[in-house]
């Protein structure tokens, strides 16, 4: 940043934008801690999207019908797209995509712990759509109003697409729940296994969430982890009733006084264990990502070599001369 303004003026200008609930844009001056917080959060989010392709990708070749297969391909393709929107947003903060991928591969940046659980049956595809994408939407809708413009804009696009993800999962589970006894049991088993990890997706309790206060003050975060978690539980309980499936928590009960559902103790030791690398699939997920990256290297290099060889040639019918106002540029 080559701010002509003095540092104090720059800080005051930044503070005024935040106070007015306006958006910070890439070339604005920003405090280094704001920038590094966003890089960490957006990168972790982007990594989660691309690692998140794996649990469901596992079922692409084994979907029970062509319709379900087409839906699942579209969903996994969306996850790749979401990763790309988010890497693009992170890059506006002055980091390179290659560096972010290196940090992921080296285990120095994280992704959501939810993707370290295995997808054991087809019903898991439904449970992920309903619960995991449902929790993600709960987290992400407030992020559309994030104070950093490019992140908020990426989230608007992502939230529109996540809605399809959640609904297809719910419909899949509903179909199984109303199917044969075996199908119903399979749906119930998937919900039993995914419920608690989904509840944990909102992160540690507010009492143990050291960065939350600062992120809220900066307008990056709008609601606390526990607020969002409560909201998720509140909407999920009636949905489970529609599905005809039970949530695996004996302590779930409506609290008329609070106007919310009470729920049981969360096993935070499991959350920490999975986050620190000792979940069921951590090593497998990272190894698969690294393999895909390394095996794709020759494609990336060949494309660059081809581009260098054909530099200056017509871009294959893509010239703007076909576009009436193309030469008027982006005025």
């Amino acid at each position: 940043m080559t701010a002509q303004l003095g540092d104090e003026d720059a800080q005051a200008s930044f503070d005024a934008v935040i106070a007015a609930d306006q958006r910070i844009e890439p070339r604005d001056w920003m405090p280094e801690a704001y920038r590094s917080t966003l890089v960490r959060q957006i990168a972790q989010h982007a990594h989660s999207e691309i690692i998140g392709m794996q649990p469901e990708g596992n079922w692409l070749t084994r979907a029970p019908s062509l319709k379900r297969k087409a839906i699942l391909i579209a969903k996994v393709q969306d996850e790749a797209g979401h990763g790309l929107y988010l890497y693009g947003a992170a890059e506006t903060l002055g980091v390179s995509r290659d560096d972010l991928l290196d940090l992921l591969h080296a285990g120095r940046q994280r992704y959501s712990s939810i993707f370290n659980y295995p997808t054991l049956t087809w019903a898991d595809v439904g449970a992920i759509g309903w619960l995991v994408d449902g929790a993600a939407i709960m987290n992400q809708i407030p992020l559309t109003r994030c104070s950093y413009g490019p992140y908020g804009r990426a989230m608007v696009r992502i939230c529109k697409e996540e809605s399809f993800h959640q609904r297809q999962g719910f419909e899949l589970l509903l179909t199984m729940s109303r199917g044969t006894n075996e199908q119903h049991a399979m749906a119930q088993d998937a919900v039993n296994r995914w419920w608690w990890p989904a509840v944990m997706m909102f992160g540690p309790p507010d009492s143990d969430s050291p960065h939350s206060g600062q992120s809220m003050a900066w307008g990056i975060k709008r609601f606390s982890n526990d607020e969002l978690r409560q909201r998720f539980v509140d909407v999920s309980v009636p949905q489970a009733a529609v599905l005809g499936l039970d949530l695996p928590d004996a302590a779930l009960a409506w609290d008329a006084e609070r106007g919310h559902y009470d729920f049981g103790e969360i096993d935070w030791s499991e959350f920490k264990r999975v986050l620190s690398g000792d979940g069921p699939c951590n090593r497998q997920r990272l190894a698969r990502r690294l393999q895909a990256h390394e095996e794709g290297a020759w494609v990336r290099e060949a494309a660059m070599a081809y581009a260098a060889k054909h530099a200056g040639e017509d871009a294959g019918g893509a010239k703007t001369s076909r576009e009436g106002d193309g030469h008027a540029a982006v005025a």
Binding site: Q4, A74, G81, S96, R97, D98, R300, A303, A307, E323
Partner: protein, 102 residues
């Protein structure tokens, strides 16, 4: 960083800015950015990334390095000339109520 056959580090794909015309009659608007080795692949990647649900009827891709932007640091000096010219807006003028269609 992977190495190319001559031993040098492979160059990353350059960055492109993507502009999408949502439908006929509207201007192209900025949709986001992506990496691609050349313009043709940038267009194909832009189609896959930004128009999976028919969000556009036309796409422009522009190398990010080719965009000249006004600097936010200059914003006061750069945009100030418009600041004190309220007479450029129709609401500046007081017109009697009985004068219609103005």
């Amino acid at each position: 960083m992977p190495l190319s056959p001559d031993g040098s580090a492979a160059a990353p794909w350059p960055l492109w800015e993507v502009f999408v015309r949502p439908k006929r009659g509207l201007s192209h608007t900025h949709a986001g950015s992506l990496h691609a080795p050349d313009a043709t692949i940038a267009l194909q990647n832009a189609r896959d990334l930004f128009t999976r649900r028919q969000e556009g009827v036309s796409i422009w891709v522009v190398p990010s390095a080719q965009i000249t932007a006004s600097s936010p640091d200059e914003k006061d000096a750069f945009f100030d000339p418009a600041g004190d010219k309220v007479y450029r807006h129709p609401t500046f003028y007081e017109i009697p109520d009985e004068a219609e269609h103005l």
